[in-house]
């Protein structure tokens, strides 16, 4: 015989959501990053009198704009459970292709097309190996990382391609105020083409990931690829498209960087793949796939840009700077976990 008083049901209120929207917003990764960004901004302006200068800040954005454009595509790829380590090598190959074309006398529009095309082709190659043949992406892209840069190395040796047409320099060095339709307000003078490209791509990728069915599929694949497959999601095709996108964005970054340098060497963008992945993870994208947001990555890019520029102003050597970035990454990842533990124990 049950002793439960069945005739008297206990009243239990089940809330719709575990916390209020404001509390959730405050506790989210993005607000933590935003707070870190603001803290670093204040720390920088206290540490150096040269930090709060619009032209200096404008120069500083080059520290992250090109890398961030690739990080947006990388975000989608990592959420889907894959990774691309060959992005910096794609820049090298695309830049080499543009350099060779510039030697042949092609103009700026053709060079941009060649850069983007080379990026797409490299992305398609990665995509085929991963999505068609089914090889693990980390192995494939470690291979193509050496392959793509190796080709650039064979073509260039210890030489450099230069002699890019003068109008090609605008993508990496130009200001929006060079264009006639840009508002001629004083505050808008310092806005570079790369900054606008960064914001436009952030918006495009944000919409794609958070507001379309395609974006929802990426999360589904990252959380459980088998379940996604059985739900009728074209897993392989989606992954192929994501590699294409990553290749294309590497091509975009290659155009900007090559235009900014006006010269191509095989060592161009060396080591960027790790900085891009750091940016993505710092932005709150789970390295295991399934979660993350573009907003977080935008903030992470700004945080990393501010940190490197601020430390640069204080003439902190690059080696110490990478230690700082590493510590920042660990700190930002550890902080919410530690806070949760402390809360659970009290």
């Amino acid at each position: 015989m049950s002793t439960m008083p069945l005739d008297k049901p206990t009243v239990r209120r089940i809330p719709d959501k575990l916390s209020t929207p404001t509390a959730r917003l405050l506790g989210s990764w993005e607000s933590l990053l935003a707070a870190v960004a603001i803290a670093i901004f204040f720390a920088n302006s206290l540490a150096s009198p040269h930090f709060l200068d619009p032209w200096n800040l404008s120069d500083a954005t080059y520290n992250f704009t090109e890398k961030a454009m690739i990080a947006f595509a990388m975000t989608l790829l990592i959420i889907s459970g894959e990774i691309d380590l060959s992005v910096a090598a794609i820049i090298a190959l695309a830049s080499t292709a543009m350099g060779a074309a510039a030697q042949m006398g092609f103009g700026a529009p053709a060079l941009v097309g060649i850069g983007l095309g080379a990026g797409l082709l490299c992305g398609a190659f990665n995509g085929l190996l991963v999505a068609r043949i089914g090889l693990p992406s980390i192995v494939v892209t470690i291979g193509t990382m050496s392959l793509f840069r190796g080709i650039a190395q064979i073509v260039l040796g210890d030489k450099a391609y230069g002699g890019y047409p003068a109008d090609f320099a605008w993508f990496g060095q130009g200001y929006m105020s060079d264009l006639s339709w840009w508002p001629s307000w004083h505050a808008f003078e310092v806005v570079t083409f790369e900054m606008v490209a960064f914001l436009v791509f952030a918006l495009l990728f944000g919409v794609l990931l958070h507001m379309t069915a395609f974006g929802r599929r990426i999360y589904a694949i990252g959380n459980n690829a088998f379940a996604a497959e059985f739900s009728g999601i074209p897993v392989r095709r989606t992954k192929f498209v994501l590699f294409l996108l990553t290749g294309l964005m590497s091509g975009v970054a290659a155009v900007c960087l090559t235009s900014r340098l006006g010269s191509t060497r095989h060592s161009i963008a060396a080591g960027w793949e790790l900085e891009i992945i750091t940016m993505t993870v710092l932005g709150g994208v789970s390295i295991l796939g399934g979660s993350g947001s573009i907003g977080g990555v935008v903030l992470a890019a700004i945080v990393m840009g501010l940190v490197t520029f601020g430390l640069g102003l204080l003439n902190v050597p690059g080696i110490v700077m990478s230690i700082f970035t590493g510590l920042l990454l660990i700190l930002v990842i550890a902080l919410p976990i530690v806070v949760r533990r402390l809360r659970a124990s009290s």
Binding site: L46, A169, L261, S267, G312, L313, N315
Partner: protein, 331 residues
């Protein structure tokens, strides 16, 4: 979060105090190198600090990227521009890629020079070479003469490949200046292709076919090392001497064995010293650095600016038993 903000603020304040200590009157010179953690550039920084100490009102900011990339160097240059330094002296990873950033620096009134590894003409006021072809050719002959009794006797050249631009220029300079050393007689020139084993065999061949050759001059570090080894293995130390251009770290053994008494190469300490001196004079408007002008570099003497704004610092520096170990640690 509060804790983190407080920590960040604390660090920032600490750093602000440290940087605020430098007075506004000092001339700030950014010494930008190809990459940090390279012995050659650490030595150049030593020279730069020496110059700063001598001049008194100079702060040298020694900086550079962690890897030898142009984009890393641009980030560093942008940070220096932002700090409003007075001068930038750069050894470029890419002569063209840094030009736009350096042009921007010059537009904002910063004096820009390059040293060691040149920057394209539009991106700098002048470029400081460690030496010139003429001086290198002369130094090779001077070293050969110093090894021969009364500066009289036969010598041979062991070069790199027949098409090596640098070596061919230096050999041509040696031939041109040979009349200045009437006792010297150039017997032959052989080519070791800058390969250790081929250079070794060519040196062996010289020793057997030209027994009168008392000095082998090798204007390449591979050649000078291989020839020293060949002389040592043939048991001719004290009879035949090897000299030329080489790196102290590679040559230390040959100098101690006695196969080589003296050899030459640039001195990175002097190079950093001169670059700092020149940058300082440009900031103080003691010189405009135009081709044809002369700049006082204190202990390194007056440095003349040649065509295209290229300047040669000095004779290559001579290394022997007394100083080779000290520099072997550097490069």
């Amino acid at each position: 979060m509060k804790l983190f903000a407080r920590l960040a603020l604390g660090t920032a304040l600490g750093l602000a105090l440290v940087t605020g200590a430098a007075s506004a009157e000092t001339v700030k010179i950014g010494l930008v190198v190809k990459s940090l953690g390279n012995g050659f550039f650490e030595a150049a920084n030593k020279g730069a600090q020496e110059a700063a100490k001598e001049l008194g009102d100079v702060e040298v900011i020694y900086t550079g990227p962690t890897s030898t990339t142009a984009e890393g160097q641009i980030e560093v240059i942008n940070a220096l521009i932002a700090q409003k330094v007075d001068a930038i002296a750069v050894s470029a990873n890419d002569p063209d890629a840094v030009v736009p950033a350096l042009k921007k620096a010059m537009q904002r009134g910063i004096k820009v020079i390059s040293w060691d590894s040149a920057v394209g003409k539009d991106g700098r006021i002048l470029h400081l070479n460690p030496s010139s072809n003429e001086l290198i050719g002369n130094m090779c002959l001077k070293l050969a003469a110093a090894h021969l009794p009364d500066g009289k006797g036969d010598f041979a050249i062991l070069s790199a490949t027949t098409t090596s631009t640098n070596q061919n220029t230096w050999i041509a300079e040696m031939k041109k200046q040979l009349p200045k050393y009437p006792g010297l007689n150039l017997v032959t020139t052989v080519y070791g292709d800058d390969l250790a084993d081929k250079s070794y065999r060519e040196a062996q061949g010289l020793l057997s076919t030209h027994p009168n050759v008392k000095v082998i001059v090798a204007p390449t570090t591979v050649g000078v090392l291989a020839a020293s080894q060949a002389v040592k293995d043939a048991g001719k130390i004290g009879e035949v001497f090897v000299t030329g251009l080489g790196l102290p770290s590679e040559m230390a053994g040959a100098v101690h064995s006695g196969a080589t008494k003296e050899f030459a190469i640039w001195n990175p300490i002097d190079l950093g010293y001169s670059a700092t001196q020149i940058a300082y004079r440009l900031v103080k408007k003691e010189s405009d650095g135009k081709p044809g002008s002369e700049i006082d570099a204190s202990r390194m003497g007056k440095i003349k600016i040649g065509a295209d704004g290229e300047a040669a610092m000095a004779d290559p520096f001579v290394y022997d038993k007394s100083n080779v170990d000290e520099f072997a640690k550097i490069f």
